[in-house]
């Protein structure tokens, strides 16, 4: 119920943003924070009528609908094949998940177990490691532990390390975000990736246009 209410407010705020320029977006943002329908420091009368009328139009309903569809497709991409942990018939057996992890680490030079996806990390610490790896232009495999509880607990047991993210290079556990960050700063990460033959493997981003 709360969620629906919040959704209504942000839809209204979005409508206000669509319908006005200048101060209106700020007003809309402020309104989103207010809990009482008529409360808040913002002169609500300015934005509300247009919100109300906009909310009635099919165009807005389509807009809001499109937004909702986009959001759910983002959620669906959490299970994109590239990142989906291989489902096994007898998942749940602890030995099985350990074998799966071992197999994965044997097959790939750089493997990251994280929360969320590289394109949408679900935790600041996972985000940090993803950014550092992007900086090193490393081709790596990422696993989203949030969609696989067996993997989430399995990887912690595998390394005897209680937190996510966990980075592995050449089959060896490197560390979590603190350690990876420290190694990136000291240059150790680069050396490790060079030694593993993984540094700069990914296609470099296109060079920025020279001059203007």
């Amino acid at each position: 119920m709360n969620i629906m209410y919040a959704g209504g407010r942000s839809a209204a705020a979005a409508a206000a943003r669509l319908s006005r320029t200048g101060a209106a977006p700020r007003a809309a943002a402020a309104r989103r924070l207010t809990t009482a329908p008529t409360g808040g420091p913002v002169p609500a009368a300015a934005a509300r009528p247009s919100v109300a009328s906009l909310r009635q139009t099919p165009a807005l309903r389509r807009l809001v609908g499109a937004g909702a569809a986009r959001r759910s497709s983002v959620a669906a991409s959490e299970t994109h094949d590239d990142f989906k942990p291989v489902p096994s018939a007898d998942a749940g057996a602890d030995g099985d998940i350990q074998a799966r992890i071992k197999e994965e680490l044997d097959a790939h030079k750089v493997v990251l177990f994280m929360k969320g996806l590289p394109s949408a990390p679900a935790c600041g610490f996972s985000y940090k490691v993803v950014s550092l790896l992007a900086g090193a232009r490393v081709e790596y495999r990422a696993h989203n532990v949030l969609v696989d509880d067996a993997l989430r607990s399995g990887i912690k047991a595998f390394s005897s390390w209680p937190t996510i993210p966990q980075l592995y290079v050449g089959g060896e556990f490197v560390g979590g975000s603190d350690i990876v960050e420290g190694m990136a700063t000291s240059g150790e990460l680069r050396q490790l990736l060079v030694d593993a033959g993984a540094y700069g493997e990914a296609t470099p981003p296109p060079a920025p246009p020279a001059g203007a």
Binding site: C123, Y127, W161, G176
Partner: protein, 105 residues
């Protein structure tokens, strides 16, 4: 002290665990960086047990000390130094830059 609903880890509990652990730290600083909900902590631990250990091994020692509460903690940001490192740092610079704050995601 702890609420009946959710297991809340307090700063004092973390301090106690560290001080009574095999680390026998000479200095412990614990900060709750989760806004008081006991899910993220920033630790500054100084111990002779870290001598000759790489960062990974040092953090492992700290995690071992906190093993009983780790299941209800989301993140621990740590600085693990030896007394010698602290002395050297104090001699070299007045204050080392603080590590980046916890992302508010």
């Amino acid at each position: 002290m702890s609420a009946t609903a959710a297991p809340t880890v307090t700063v004092a509990a973390v301090e106690d665990l560290l001080l009574t652990s095999a680390l026998a730290p000479t200095q412990v600083e614990v900060k709750d960086v989760s806004g008081g909900c006991g899910t993220s902590f920033k630790l500054n631990v100084v111990s002779t047990a870290f001598e000759g250990q790489r960062l990974l091994a040092r953090q492992r020692l700290v995690y071992d000390a906190l093993a009983t509460v780790m299941p209800s903690i989301h993140a621990v940001i740590m600085t693990c130094k030896t007394p010698a490192q602290v002395a050297a740092a104090a001699a070299a610079a007045p204050a080392a830059p603080a590590p980046a704050p916890t992302p508010s995601v």
